[in-house]
Symmetry: C4
Subunit: 275 residues, 4 copies
């Protein structure tokens, strides 16, 4: 995400400095900028949360609106500075973090531009999009990449797993719709499917629950299936992480032919010959 | 599932071509056929789901019926073509995918053939069997076989695990029936057994919940047991998948013929001969 | 559980034969006996379950009582034959399976012996003890021993884990009792403790749920803790099973000193020398 | 936690003896002291629990108060003796166990000192702090340290995992607030966030549940995500525990001093010198 300093050679002095502060965390100014940004993100998300509580909205509404506008202007300045600091502004604008940065400021302006005749729901929905600002904090979670890599490696297996779960949920949902019927809350197959997922993932709200003995028998089978099947993705990720954690070189010893050396080995651990 | 091209030598040119399109995914026509089939399956399942929603059924009933019949005729043509394309139609008809293909078209015709005097429930139940068409998509999940293999290898352990769960659920269910009694919703042992499974698998609907202190104590013990015991199948599958991932050389000993050597082995571990 | 045939040398012919049929599964008669026993256990448990359903009890009560008495007499005969067949009857009688066998027949006789003046609850409780007959089937689950061994190896770690869970549940339960108070269903600390276990194990009945914002915050923290902490026993059992699955000999090669040989290896896999 | 006997050389005979009894478990007196302490802790926690049950409080209130005061005086004596027995009382007083020991006695005295005009809630809250005495038992769980070490090693990954969960919960909570609205129980974003955590961790109280089809679709997606994502911490801890279990030789290379060799290594993998 951070361009190498080698690429900044041709920039004027002030743009180089700006880039350093905004995109790099190695200098005191860069570290301070990152910290300020984190605080602003936290404040902004807190403002969205608090504004949604009726009691707080009524009492502190104007204060929250001021905080909201101050943060929006701050994020706007940050967005413009980022565009100025990089060599290819367009490429930044369409990158993952560029879009997140735009999404962080757009809702406040949009809510202003919309005619008053718009239904309140639409305006509120747009304004609440500001909560996506929390994704701006993702840049600080470098370790997340490791986990994402492990998940991506198991992607196909996980897709198959999800396909299997949905197939089972669909079939069980249809059976329950027939068995329990609309009188017991299973009013349609999509709703039965929702029930099947609630049950299979062991969430179990209890808003819909089987009432006939046959329905309870089927439900019990689905629960045990869901309870046992969780072992599959867990096993996949465990095996994947174990595999990733223990890199073994594929190089055989030229002297004795032994294999299974660590990737950092310079000599054969059995005969001492140079690898 | 796909017969080798060697076996198709004696077929007429058109049957060979048909087989290629229907059973193989290597040619553009074959890929298009597979894609069309997937879309048809998705449409068909969506139709079953939508038809079960009362509001949609009332408004779009006739449209859904037309879609339904078009798809049924399409699947019927596909089924006949599959029977024509293979060398041994009967063997295909009784295979897993052959039965699935038949089940995908039968319900629509059956619902038509049944006398109107049949109760509505039976007709609806039969028509909803069409949802099993989703299993036709299983052919596209080749990776599923890997998972199925891992599960099959742990079959006996999983059976024992299920047996253990059911035994615990039965005993706890009976105890709760005695402790809580019929007044608190535990109206019979089968119902208490259902509660025990709901609790042990951590689903927890809350439609039946213990109300006496002793019942809550027993329930808490059952929850902690269920919560801890999930580790067992997870551990089994993890270990199984790790085992499968551990590389074992396919080389047989030239002297004694033994197999299962480590990849780093230079000598047979049973007779000491050089590999 | 099965005494070796060597120990039966001094027994008369018929007792030897009896022992073979009852305790061994290698002969056709032994296999038939085992099968008949399994069927009888299943029938017996089914009878207990069905009798607890009010509607069935009223209609088929006498039939169930006949089945019940036939099975009890059968199990009594089996119990006596087992005592006769073994060389040390007393030792069998106090063994795990001996006690189970006794528990399987005792409740029916006890219920008969109790005076009619006893409250119905006590009699019913004793009669339901018959459900423990299901434990007689445990003998057929030889694989269970493997799992039990793995669990026993992790015993101390699991105890610590349970101690930790109970400590967290106790502290969170007390906090919630103070925060939510008796008005919101948290009527005492034991009840709050029950809620904490329901929540931490992700069962979540919903019969007691926090209603104040602070209570919901604490509850959310407890949920995430419980959700994450499940990883600990799973990891323990996984690691234990992996360890058990891959036995590696501790023997070093006398010629080249290499270690890590499989336990069944007769020759060093690196240099071929005899181990 | 236990100072070495070498450090006690300068102490008078009786202090040495006292230290032995209180801090060490090797002598009969020390073992008896530990056992008495455990019983006192269990009694004390039981008293707090029982006192919170209204029915018991009314009937056995005076008895519980006597038990409470006897235990508080006992713990006070123990606390003073511990301060006397160690060489640096202040260091003990501010250590983890020192603070726990102080917290175990403080609440009872505090409740006495507070003016009667204090609201009852505050007094009750302070008195219930006595439940923290359960942490005094933590000293007996030496194995806990192993688990804590494994958890600490995965600390950063677990933080990232929690950050990811909270981000997903925040975004889904906001979406549900917009989709379901205040009429269906999602009265504010903090409350929706609470719902999202209840759902994602598969607790599923059912006190708040989606009622619109779109809300149920989003909820189903969140459930499946939460159900699958549990695999991540489990995999992390499994891999971490496996890693800890994998034996690494403690031998340093005599030539270059490098460590971390496999147990079967005969030569240093970095410089090739004989180990």
């Amino acid at each position: 995400m951070r361009t190498s300093t080698a690429a900044t050679a041709a920039r004027p002095r002030w743009r180089e400095r700006l880039h350093e502060v905004i995109f790099e965390a190695d200098t005191p100014a860069g570290r301070f900028f990152d910290l300020a940004l984190l605080v602003a993100i936290a404040l902004s998300v807190a403002a969205v949360l608090l504004e949604s509580v009726a009691a707080i909205r009524e009492q502190y509404g104007p204060t929250l609106r001021i905080v909201e506008w101050a943060l929006t202007i701050g994020f706007t300045v940050e967005y413009v500075l980022r565009l100025v600091a990089v060599d290819r502004p367009w490429r930044y604008a369409v990158s993952f973090y560029g879009i997140i940065d735009l999404l962080a400021i757009l809702p406040t302006y949009l809510a202003l531009l919309l005619p008053v005749t718009q239904p309140f729901m639409v305006i509120r929905g747009i304004r609440l999009l500001r909560v996506f600002r929390v994704l701006k904090a993702a840049q600080f979670l470098r370790e997340a990449e490791l986990l994402v890599t492990a998940l991506r490696a198991s992607r196909r297996k996980i897709t198959v797993f999800l396909g299997g779960i949905l197939t089972v949920a669909l079939i069980m949902g249809t059976l329950m719709y027939v068995v329990e019927g609309e009188a017991h809350g299973f009013t349609s197959i999509p709703r039965s499917l929702y029930w099947a997922i609630v049950t299979m993932t062991t969430v179990g709200y209890g808003d819909i629950a089987p009432r006939t003995p046959l329905g309870q028998l089927l439900a019990a089978a689905l629960m045990i299936l869901g309870y046992s099947i969780i072992a599959v993705p867990t096993g996949i990720v465990s095996a994947e992480l174990m595999q990733a954690a223990r890199p073994v070189s594929r190089q055989a010893c030229p002297a004795c032919g032994a294999e299974g050396h660590d990737v950092d080995a310079a000599h054969c651990k059995y005969c001492g010959a140079r690898l």
